[in-house]
């Protein structure tokens, strides 16, 4: 087990030297008081998220942990190159899949996996997205198992969320410990909204003249990430709209305003494909904009992330991402994939069922940590019940070895103790290039020994520091 502060031998690693010293100097009561203050700040900001199932209080704060997670400059350099490489390949894949399908013709990815995939959208076929960008905001989830071992756990190419937590965590950190933060030499992240706006403006339709009008499209206040939608719209200085605020006329998209209709050029949508346009997708959707896909196909508006981008982050397609990097970029992948078994393949399913006590099994189409089995931590009964589910619909599951995720010092009831973490960096893609905000959102499993970091499953978050020197 690799601890990011103490390594494997117990001596603080260089990037954590200052944190280790600082932690030693903080009495527990101070940490407790600061932790309470942090919670009050988050409550005042109103940053909550909705948890599905389980009943009770569904609007919750995601617990914030005081102890920052630190990434050295060199480590980040490597991660950043790997993220850019991977995101370039994912975009190339999407352009290809909705274009000439060269990668299928070359036999590098099975045709049926793509064509029968629910995330494949035929209405995107032949649509050349402006700037060749399909996933404008990618959240590439990383885990670390050793000093030099980073793995991509999954890609999120649709509407990855969490960036508001990344930014608010930093703001709260700076407020709680201004001096400590100031002398630590941390890369700033506050430019994210500006970078996002620039990326979105860069993919405006060709027909757009002058400064493109960007809007954030939200499903509304009942969505679990509504806070983030309002936050990003505010920070970018653009309007937050719901489907009912937009209308398609003469093949273009307009925003209703008190002064009449105003043309919209780029829609940063935080609504799932299925609800975007009742004329093309689910007819019962009241969240979308009728005729939006027609406007998109006519090239009068840009949708970010592109419709159908989910085909690139499907958990079975994930297996082929290293192949995509070689195929489209002619490079060797920098970031590793986690070995993955597809239960839908008979030979692999047998292995999975025989090794459940070692594996993590996930729903191939699921997200948010719902419906997964962590074999080593499950009871015999839970494993048996899960095996039944796998046998019933093997296609629905994939399995991976249980990785020994790195730990970081975390402030818990008993004091400061190691807890497992992962990292979601946010990669922004515009027609002008790819940018990655230093760091990302660190999620931490607050329960001792737990490997599930999802906020819906009791995970918390940390500020993530990339050091300048």
């Amino acid at each position: 087990m690799f601890d990011e502060m103490y390594g494997s031998d117990g001596a603080p690693r260089a990037p954590y030297a200052a944190i280790a010293k600082w932690l030693e100097q903080q009495p527990l009561e101070t940490l407790r008081a600061k932790s309470d203050e942090a919670e009050r700040l988050f409550r005042r900001i109103g940053i909550t998220f909705a948890v599905y199932s389980g009943g009770g209080d569904t609007e919750r704060l995601i617990p914030y942990d005081l102890v920052p997670r630190v990434i050295a400059k060199q480590e980040w350099g490597f991660i950043e190159r790997g993220l850019k490489q991977r995101t370039r390949a994912l975009n190339a894949f999407l352009a290809d899949i909705y274009g000439a399908r060269e990668i299928i013709r070359a036999g590098k990815i099975p045709e049926a996996l793509v064509m029968l995939n629910p995330a494949f959208e035929a209405s995107m076929q032949g649509l050349a997205a402006p700037g060749g960008v399909y996933t404008h905001v990618a959240g590439i989830d990383l885990v670390r198992t050793g000093p030099d071992d980073f793995f991509v756990l999954e890609d999120n190419c649709r509407t990855p969320s969490g960036v508001s937590y990344m930014l608010e965590n930093r703001a709260v950190m700076m407020r709680l410990f201004p001096e400590f933060f100031a002398r630590s030499g941390v890369e700033p992240i506050a430019r994210y909204p500006e970078m996002l706006l620039r990326a979105l403006q860069s993919v405006a339709p060709r027909a757009c003249e002058g400064e493109p009008t960007v809007v954030v499209l939200t499903p509304g206040q009942f969505n679990s990430a509504y806070y983030e939608h309002t936050f990003l719209a505010d920070e970018m200085g653009v309007e937050l709209v719901e489907g009912a605020d937009l209308v398609v006329e003469d093949g273009a998209v307009f925003k209703r305003t008190t002064q009449g209709l105003q043309r919209v050029d780029v829609i940063y949508r935080r609504i799932d494909d299925a609800f975007l346009d009742p004329l093309t997708f689910r007819r019962d959707s009241a969240l979308g904009v009728a005729g939006l896909m027609a406007a998109y196909r006519k090239g009068t508006v840009t949708i970010a992330n592109a419709v159908g981008a989910g085909i690139a982050d499907d958990k079975a397609v994930y297996i082929y991402v290293p192949e995509m990097i070689r195929f489209y970029l002619g490079e060797d992948p920098l970031l590793k994939n986690v070995p993955t078994w597809q239960c839908g393949r008979e030979d692999e399913c047998g292995y999975v069922l025989d090794h459940l006590e070692e594996l993590v099994v996930k729903e191939a189409r699921g997200s948010g940590g719902y419906g997964m089995l962590v074999g080593p931590q499950a009871s015999t009964k839970e494993r048996a019940a899960f095996a039944q589910k796998i046998r019933a619909t093997p296609d629905a599951y994939i399995a991976q070895p249980t990785l020994s995720l790195s730990t970081c010092p975390t402030f818990v009831d008993s004091g400061v103790a190691p807890r497992h973490v992962d990292l979601r960096p946010f990669v922004l893609v515009g027609s002008n290039g790819i940018e990655v905000t230093p760091g990302g959102l660190t999620r931490v499993a607050l329960k001792e020994g737990s490997l599930v970091v999802n906020s819906s499953q009791g995970g918390g978050t940390k500020d993530t520091w990339v050091l300048r020197g």
Partner: protein, 268 residues
């Protein structure tokens, strides 16, 4: 065969519309068995609708009804030259591979009854598809009113009756269950007699090394020169001639007049 089409769909609303928007898939595309002589589709204000490519190989257009309107209309006025190519669709624009047409949808999801239709059939894919066309028609009489535009294949087959749309859905579902890619096609049919005021629908199946092949299960025939092909997709929802959403307007009444005339026979 030279076919002239005059298809008018009129909507009348009990109260003024707040807003209405439709997608119109009434634009035939050229293929070896179908040349477009002239074609235009007019919206409610008499404006000619400009089509866009919908991704599936069809042309579609948006038609918006002006706010406050009490009426809306779509008027198709065109002429095509068709040729009988023995059911094969050659020279068509095919953006998606046949593998896509193995997907199931809400309207074409199979059940054991549908899967059983083709389970014991032997022979090549073409022979099995033709046998399935007859099997579907044997089990479903043609009856208007037994189903509506939202009836899934399983329900239509269970009801034992339906219209061309239902026959096409069940045939597509049965072919896919038998491992043959299949799709739903909407269009017009010239029958040589007084027309029922409705468009037509049939199915196409993909035969390896031969291509897409049209089967008209409602009429138990192989698609030929009497068929005018407009749009195709996995099911009706992807190939519907007109679908729309509206706000306001109250009760809607619909009048459709359709003439498919053979220019050679000068029939009216």
């Amino acid at each position: 065969m030279r076919l002239r089409i005059d298809h008018r769909t009129l909507y009348a609303y009990a109260s003024p519309l707040e807003r209405g928007l439709q997608i119109v898939r009434l634009f035939p595309k050229r293929h070896d068995g179908q040349e477009i002589v002239r074609w235009r589709v007019l919206g409610a204000r008499g404006q000619e609708l400009a089509p866009f490519d919908d991704g599936l190989g069809n042309e579609a257009a948006l038609a918006d009804a002006p706010p406050g309107a009490r009426r809306a209309s779509i008027h198709v006025d065109g002429e095509v030259e068709t040729r009988d190519l023995g059911g094969f669709l050659n020279g068509a624009f095919e953006p998606l591979p046949p593998a896509y047409y193995m997907r199931s949808t809400d309207l074409t999801a199979p059940d054991p009854t549908i899967a059983a239709l083709g389970a014991d059939l032997r022979g090549d894919d073409g022979a099995r598809a033709i046998a399935l066309m007859h099997a579907v028609r044997d089990r479903m009489e043609f009856r208007v009113g037994a189903t509506d535009a939202t009836t899934p294949a399983v329900e239509a087959l269970a009801a034992g009756a339906g219209v061309c749309q239902d026959h096409a859905h069940v045939l597509a579902a049965a072919c896919r269950a038998a491992g043959i890619p299949a799709r739903y096609v909407s269009g017009y049919l010239w029958t040589g007699v007084e027309q029922e005021p409705a468009s037509h629908a049939w199915a196409e199946v993909f035969i390896e090394n031969a291509g897409w092949f049209g089967l008209d299960p409602a009429n138990r025939i192989i698609v030929g020169a009497a068929h005018v092909r407009m749009a195709s997709g996995l099911d009706y929802a992807q190939a519907a001639p007109i679908t729309g959403v509206r706000a306001g307007g109250g009760a809607e009444s619909l009048t459709v007049t359709l003439g498919v005339h053979s220019a050679e026979h000068a029939q009216q």
